[in-house]
């Protein structure tokens, strides 16, 4: 991930046809390329211009989908599965361990901007519950030890 500039936003937007059905694809692409993993107000404006739709429509979509965020987040996004299966096996423990270790509340970002911890719905890794995702990678069968090891990788 290099320096994030207006030029890069233009480059990304140029890859997509000016059709509204590409909105989610564009949002994913911009968010994934942003070092703070979010959709900024400037980017929302740029998307609205590109697709020739109102900014409120873009905001509406960003606000609806749980993977998208209009608030800056950490460099590494930890999404802890809190669906019924993971919860039964022990996702509360995962959340408690992570928030304690990183000294933040659920949904917050660490002071150094390195991690954000969020809870999310079923990640489809139920046979290895409890599980979580860090950025785009999936991890399962979590224990206090494996969580500590995992954090060291980032």
């Amino acid at each position: 991930m290099g320096k994030w500039t207006c030029l890069m936003v233009d480059e990304i937007l140029k890859k997509f046809p000016k059709s509204k059905d590409y909105l989610l694809e564009i949002l994913h692409e911009l968010q994934n390329n942003d070092p703070k993993q979010y959709i900024s107000a400037e980017n929302i404006k740029a998307i609205a211009q590109h697709l020739n739709i109102c900014q409120s429509q873009v905001y509406g979509v960003v606000g609806y989908y749980s993977m998208l965020s209009a608030k800056p987040r950490g460099k590494n996004l930890i999404r802890v599965c809190n669906s019924p299966v993971c919860k039964m096996i022990g996702s509360e423990h995962t959340i408690n361990h992570l928030t304690k270790k990183l000294k933040i509340q659920l949904g917050d970002t660490t002071a150094d901007g390195k991690f954000t911890v969020e809870e999310c719905e079923c990640l489809g890794n139920c046979s290895q519950a409890p599980s979580l995702m860090i950025n785009s990678k999936l991890y399962g069968n979590l224990t206090s030890e494996s969580l500590d090891d995992l954090l060291k990788e980032f």
């Binding site: 059709s19 909105l23 989610l24 609806y64 993977m67 299966v85 039964m88 096996i89 489809g124 519950a129």
Partner: protein, 418 residues
């Protein structure tokens, strides 16, 4: 001991999912060649004859849906959409297919596209499934390279191409009409049904929507015939089903078996029995929008029809096994919390209802037996109203776990000694 019969997962773990050549060696794209030589009606008639039912959860006869979409108009634009927005808690079968054998999905989609005379296909994959997205995109690229996708496919004159669209974390978008809204670049709000997608789907055009597992069954059915497929499983839900086992089991995982398998065989032969030497208490069948089965249902066959006779559901094939030490109210609470969180808020019964029933169940464990009885019946009443008045399956679903828990575990629910 029961054995797996792999049809949708025939290549899973056998071939390299990133090698189209290995897929072709394993009879890959032979069904497409056969289809392109046959008439379009020949394909949907074969699927109707096979008795294949939608594997996403609803269990609607697949061929019938295909035929309706094919016949609704002859020269209008149509689409095929693959629902890969797998989000039902406890379900991960579509992820396994996409990660281990993406070409079977692509081939199934092209065949479906040919049978209804569509020109474009979309795979709507949930955004969290990064590896699935990567593998399916790779498979699409390779299929284009080998001329299985694009214009004049294999010299047949049929044009068809597929694109991936990513979801962004909404359970509701797994509902077919909501998925279409999302595909059009909008918030995932459900549409009023009817019109069904076969009449008015994506951008108002006739659209065939099928689940990943359903489509992965197309090539083997076309290749081996409906008679072969029908000979497997139960009479009214023939074929195989991928069951995803999770919870308190020794060997949780995914297993594809004929639908005639029993819950006991799944739990003990495949799942290896209950973890840590504990006893079985309940199984949640079909995920959050599913039903609780008690011990007396262990010998019921897992076909849609057989389970329905018992007031149970198969849904997406999720089986969450719960051992004797768990509190079922806690499980129920997490399910109701899930619905509350995922309710989109468009219709009032679901928006208010999911919040209200979650609120009511939260203090359940502190109540006296009489209060429990009263409270639970009140919750059931509310869920009944939601089922009758909500716009989409989300608001219609809480009644399933609630009612089955009441029917099969009423003594447990009102007893205060746990």
């Amino acid at each position: 001991m029961a054995k797996e019969v792999r049809i949708a997962l025939r290549n899973s773990g056998v071939i390299n999912p990133e090698s189209i050549d290995e897929y072709i060696t394993a009879d890959g794209y032979q069904a497409l060649r056969k289809s392109l030589r046959s008439s379009q009606s020949g394909i949907y008639d074969e699927i109707i004859e096979s008795g294949l039912r939608g594997r996403g959860g609803a269990g609607f006869p697949t061929g019938t849906k295909e035929k309706t979409t094919a016949l609704i108009c002859t020269d209008c634009e149509k689409y095929v959409v693959c629902n890969a927005d797998e989000g039902e808690p406890g379900t991960f079968k579509d992820r396994v297919i996409m990660e281990t054998d993406p070409h079977s999905l692509i081939e199934g989609m092209i065949i479906a596209g040919y049978s209804i005379n569509a020109t474009r296909g979309f795979v709507y994959i949930r955004g969290e499934y990064a590896l699935s997205i990567e593998r399916v995109q790779h498979a699409i690229n390779k299929a284009r390279e080998y001329k299985f996708l694009g214009t004049n496919i294999l010299g047949s004159g049929f044009d068809f191409d597929i694109e991936i669209r990513r979801g962004a974390g909404s359970y509701l978008c797994g509902e077919e009409l909501t998925l279409l809204e999302s595909l059009e670049g909008k918030r995932g709000y459900p549409r009023i049904k009817p019109p069904y997608p076969a009449e008015k789907g994506l951008w108002g055009k006739p659209t065939l929507i099928n689940n990943v597992e359903t489509l992965a069954n197309f090539p083997p059915i076309i290749l081996n015939g409906a008679v072969w497929y029908k000979s497997i499983g139960t009479d009214k839900s023939p074929g195989t089903k991928i069951f995803t086992l999770s919870g308190d089991l020794c060997n949780p995982g995914y297993y594809e078996t004929p639908t005639s398998i029993t819950l006991r065989e799944l739990i003990y032969d495949f799942g290896g029995g209950i973890r840590n030497g504990k006893k079985f208490k309940a199984a949640l069948l079909g995920g959050a929008a599913g039903t609780f089965a008690s011990e007396k249902f262990l010998d019921v066959q897992m076909g849609y029809d057989k389970l329905k006779e018992q007031g149970l559901t198969l849904g997406s094939g999720a089986i969450v096994v719960i051992d004797e030490t768990r509190d079922l109210i806690e499980t129920l609470e997490s399910i109701l919390k899930f619905f509350k969180h995922e309710s989109c808020g468009k219709c009032i019964p679901c928006r208010i209802g999911t919040t209200q029933i979650y609120h009511d169940i939260c203090c359940f464990n502190e109540m006296s037996a009489i209060d429990r009885d009263k409270t639970y019946k009140n919750i059931l009443n509310q869920a009944e109203v939601m089922a009758k008045t909500s716009l989409c399956p989300l608001g219609q679903s809480p009644i399933l776990p609630l009612k089955s828990l009441w029917q099969n575990f009423s003594d447990y629910l009102v007893s205060t000694s746990k």
